[in-house]
C-alpha cells in the first residue's frame, strides 16, 4: 500500500497553548515545521481556562520563585519531580513577560505592570500567607493567551495543518520516532508526516469520564498513540476533580464563588462541609471538598430527582455583589443550569477537570522511558509538552494556574531541545519504517469494514459510566478491582466498534470512533494504575488506605513515593523513583500536607 509522505524538520501534534508556544520557537528558528490540529488553533481547549497563569513577578507584593516551587511541591503531595518544578518556577517570570511581549492583553495594575490575583495554594515565604501570583486577563486568561500565541504564530508564518487528525506514532526498529500518520478530516486522505523530531501537545483526556469540564475534543489522542507505540504512561491514576462543575453540563464554576461566601448544601439544606472541615469549611482544598460532596451523595443526601448532586448556594449574598464580582458565573449558571443564582442555588457535582499524569518526560520535554536499568533514557526524536505530558511538575495534585504555566515553560523547552536535536541529525531523513504506518492504516480499515459491531456511542457511554462509578473522586478497593474487569470488557466492545457513515467527506463519525480508541487506552491506564496504588495521595484517595502516624492521611511514603508507569502491552505496571533533588536548591523535605 502506498501512502503519500511529507517531510519536515519538526512535526507538532496539537495547537493549544503548549503546541503553539513550541511552534513559535521552531518557526522563529527557521525550521520547517508542521503543526497538526483537529480544530482551528484558537478552538483548542486552552481557550476555556479562566483563572490565570502563575509567575512570581511580585508586582503587588514580594514573591520569589523558590516560594512558588515550595507551593508546587506541597500541592503535588511530594510526587512531583523537584528538578522539573524548580525549572518551571524559575522560568515562570521569563515566559510570562515574553507572553506579554507577544501581545497578551493582561489586566494591569495602576503602575502599568501585569495584574496578579490570589489563588488557592499560592503562598509567600514557604507557606506562610496568601500571595498574588496568578497573572490574569479578566476571567478569560486562556482565551487571551491562546489567541496571542496564535497571532504571534501568524507573524512567524507557522505552517498549520488545520483539521488534520494524527492517528499513530511511527517508530523504527530501534524505537526512534520518525513522525506520525495523519488523516485530513475534510477528505479522509491519509498522509505520513515524517520528521526528525516529533512533539505531542494534544492536551487532556477528560472525556473518559461521564462528567467533565473538558471539551468534546479532549480525547487523549496523544496518550493513545503513545501507548500503541509502546511508550508507557506515567501516573495516570491522578485526576483532579473540580468540586463545582454544573451538574449535567460539566461547565466549570470557579472556586471564587466560595471565596465570595458561597455555601455547599445537601438535600436537607445542611451546610455539610462543617462536618468534614470544621475550620476551612467550604474553602477546604479541592480534594477534601470533592470527597465530602461524594460522600453526601453516596449516603443518600444528594439533591434532585436522582439525588445525584449538591447545591452551591449564594442566595444569601447581596445581589449587587453577585453582579459585580461574579458576573461570568451568573451567566454560566443561567445559561447552563437554568437558574439565576441570585434566586436559587446552583446544582453542582465534582467534575473531572485535569489529568496530572501523561507521557513521561524530563524538564527538557524529551520523552523518557526506562531502558537497560536507566529510567531516564531518552526516546530519540520524541517530545511531549502540556497536559498530555508528565514532567512531572503536578505530581498527585496540580496547583491552580500551574497548567497554563506548564504550557509556556515546557512548550518552549521542548522546542529548544528539538532545535538542538534536529541540528545534530544528518540532513537526510532516514528510511521510513513502514510497520507502524501499515498498522495504522489497518486500524482505519478495520473500522470501515467492521460488520455487526458495537455502536460507538454505546461503547463510549459504557466506558464513561465505568470510569465515573469505579474510579471517581473517592475510590474503593472492591470497586476498583471490579472496575478493572469492566473496563477490559468495554475494551472488547471498542475493538469491535462499527460506523454506519462511510463517507470520505468530513466524516465526524469516523473521527469519534478513532477518538474512542484513544480514550479506552487512557481509561485502562487510569483504572489499572489506580487499582494498584494502595495508598491515598493528592487526588487519588482510597477507602482502604488507613490514616496512621506512619501513613498520615493514608499517604505511604515508605512504599509509594514513586511514579507509576503503565505499559499497554499486557497492562504491565512498573515504577520509577520520584526525583527529590532540585537543580540548584535544597530538597523540599517530605511533610504531611495540610492547609
Amino acid at each position: 500500500m502506498s501512502v503519500p509522505v511529507r517531510h519536515f524538520d519538526a512535526v507538532i501534534v496539537g495547537a493549544g497553548g503548549a503546541g503553539m508556544r513550541a511552534a513559535l520557537q521552531l518557526s522563529e528558528a527557521g525550521l520547517k515545521t508542521a503543526v497538526l490540529s483537529k480544530v482551528f488553533p484558537t478552538r483548542s481547549h486552552t481557550v476555556a481556562a479562566q483563572g490565570g497563569v502563575s509567575a512570581s513577578l511580585g508586582n503587588s507584593e514580594p514573591d520569589h520563585w523558590h516560594w512558588h516551587m515550595y507551593d508546587t511541591v506541597k500541592g503535588s503531595d511530594w510526587l512531583g519531580d523537584q528538578d522539573a518544578i524548580e525549572f518551571m518556577c524559575r522560568e515562570a517570570p521569563k515566559v510570562v513577560v515574553e507572553l506579554e511581549h507577544f501581545g497578551m492583553p493582561f489586566d494591569r495594575n495602576a503602575d502599568g505592570t501585569i495584574y496578579q490575583r490570589p489563588f488557592g495554594g499560592h503562598m509567600s515565604n514557604f507557606g506562610e500567607k496568601p500571595v498574588r501570583r496568578a497573572c490574569a486577563a479578566a476571567d478569560r486568561t486562556g482565551h487571551a493567551m491562546l489567541h496571542a500565541l496564535y497571532q504571534r504564530n501568524v507573524r512567524a508564518n507557522t505552517h498549520f495543518f488545520v483539521e488534520w487528525m494524527a492517528l499513530d506514532l511511527i517508530r523504527d526498529a530501534e524505537g526512534r520516532v520518525q513522525g506520525v500518520v495523519a488523516m485530513e478530516m475534510e477528505t479522509s486522505d491519509i498522509v505520513v508526516f515524517q520528521a526528525k523530531a516529533t512533539l505531542f501537545a494534544t492536551g487532556g483526556a477528560g472525556r473518559i469520564y461521564a462528567s467533565s469540564t473538558n471539551a468534546f475534543i479532549n480525547t487523549g489522542d496523544g496518550l493513545g498513540m503513545a501507548a500503541r507505540a509502546g511508550i508507557p504512561l506515567e501516573d495516570m491514576e491522578f485526576w483532579q476533580f473540580h468540586p463545582t462543575g454544573v451538574a449535567g453540563a460539566g461547565v466549570l464554576i470557579t472556586e471564587g464563588v466560595r471565596g465570595e461566601g458561597g455555601i455547599l448544601r445537601n438535600a436537607q439544606g445542611e451546610r455539610f462541609m462543617e462536618r468534614y472541615a470544621p475550620n476551612a469549611k467550604d474553602l477546604a482544598s479541592r480534594d477534601v471538598v470533592s470527597r465530602a460532596m461524594v460522600t453526601e451523595i453516596n449516603e443518600g443526601r444528594g439533591c434532585g430527582p436522582n439525588k445525584d448532586h449538591v447545591l452551591l448556594d449564594i442566595t444569601h449574598l447581596d445581589p449587587e455583589v453577585i453582579k459585580s464580582k461574579l458576573p461570568g458565573i451568573r451567566e454560566i449558571s443561567i445559561k447552563f443550569a437554568g437558574v439565576d443564582p441570585i434566586q436559587a442555588p446552583i446544582p453542582v457535582v465534582p467534575t473531572c477537570h485535569y489529568q496530572m499524569g501523561g507521557i513521561p518526560t524530563n524538564y527538557k520535554g524529551e520523552v523518557v522511558v526506562p531502558k537497560d536499568g536507566d529510567h531516564k533514557a531518552v526516546v530519540p526524536g520524541f517530545y511531549a509538552a502540556g497536559e498530555v505530558a508528565c514532567a512531572s511538575v503536578h505530581g498527585a495534585n496540580r496547583l491552580g494556574t500551574n497548567s497554563l504555566l506548564d504550557l509556556l515553560v515546557f512548550g518552549k523547552s521542548s522546542a529548544n531541545s528539538m532545535i538542538e536535536f534536529i541540528k545534530s541529525e544528518p540532513a537526510e531523513l532516514p528510511e521510513l519504517a513502514m510497520a507502524d504506518v501499515e498498522r495504522s492504516i489497518a486500524r482505519v480499515k478495520r473500522l470501515d469494514e467492521q460488520k455487526n459491531g458495537t455502536n460507538v456511542h454505546e461503547a463510549r457511554s459504557a466506558m464513561q459510566r465505568v470510569m465515573q462509578n469505579h474510579c471517581g473522586v473517592f475510590r474503593f478497593k472492591d470497586m476498583l478491582a471490579e472496575g478493572v474487569d469492566k473496563i477490559l470488557e468495554v475494551e472488547k466492545m471498542v475493538k469491535r466498534c462499527e460506523i454506519a457513515d462511510k463517507s470520505k467527506v468530513f466524516n465526524t463519525a469516523r473521527v469519534e470512533a478513532l477518538e474512542l480508541e484513544n480514550l479506552i487506552e487512557v481509561a485502562k491506564a487510569t483504572m489499572i494504575s489506580a487499582n494498584a496504588r494502595t495508598e491515598s495521595r493528592g487526588a487519588h484517595v482510597r477507602d482502604d488506605a488507613p490514616d496512621t502516624p506512619e501513613t498520615p492521611n493514608g499517604r505511604d511514603d515508605k512504599n509509594w513515593l514513586k511514579h507509576t508507569l503503565w505499559h499497554r502491552d499486557g497492562n504491565r505496571l512498573e515504577y520509577k523513583p520520584v526525583n527529590l533533588t532540585p537543580l540548584t536548591v535544597e530538597t523540599i523535605a517530605l511533610k504531611t500536607r495540610s492547609y
Binding site: 482551528f40 478552538r43 501581545g103 494591569r108 482565551h143 460539566g250 454560566i332 463517507s503
Partner: protein, 236 residues
Amino acid sequence: MTTQTIQFRVYRYDPDKDAKPYMQDISVEVDSTDRKLLDALVKLKVKDETVSFRRSCREGVCGSDAMNINGKNGLACLTDLKDLKQPIELRPIPGLPVIRDLIVDMTQFFKQYHSIKPYVVNDTPPPEKERLQSPEDRKELDGLYECILCACCSTSCPSFWWNPDKFVGPAGLLAAYRFIADTRDTATNERLDNLEDPYRLFRCHTIMNCVDVCPKHLNPTRAIGKIKDLMVKRAV
C-alpha cells in the same frame, strides 16, 4: 425524567453521495437536562451519525458551532432549545462554501482575518520586564479582544456575502481595531493604509447585522466607526 420530542429541518449535503443539498425532516427525543441546541444535536447524531457539524467546548468560547438557526446565525451551544420555534431549521452559516451538512469552508473568513496583520507590531526591543500599559489604556481592548472567530457576524453581513475576497468583514475589522487600540502597537498608520481602500473597509454600510448576531455581545460596527474616524482625522 420527562422527555420531549424536538422536530428539526436540517440542511443536508454530502458531496460523496448527494447530487445536491436538501432539507431533511428529522426528530429526536431529549430530556430535561438537554437545555441547549447543541445538546439536542449531540442526541440527533446518536440517532443518525451522518449528521455533521463542528463542536468542541460546549460553553461558547471556542467558536466551533456557528450555524444558521431559524434564519439567524448563532452558536448551538449557547442557544436555548426552549426559545426555538419548531421545526428548528438549521442551515450552514451563509456565504461560505459548504463542505458537508452544517460544516462550511472558513478559508476566506480566516484569510481576511490574517490580512489585517492580527498581531502586535512593535519593533523597539522589548524591555527586560513587561511593557507597561495603564489600566485605562488596557480598558480600550475590552469588547475587542474577546472575539472567538466564530464568523457569525461576517456571514450575516450582506457586504461580506457579495465581496468575501475584498471586504475584510466585521470580524476582521474588529480585530484590526483591537490592534490599533493597543498602546503597545506602533503600526497604526500602516494599519490604516492597509484599510484605505474602496472595499476593505468602506464596504460596510452600517447594516448592523453583525452586532445583532455576535454571541459574545461585541460590537464590530462601533469598531468600524472608530477606524473610519481615525481615517478622517488623519486626512485633515
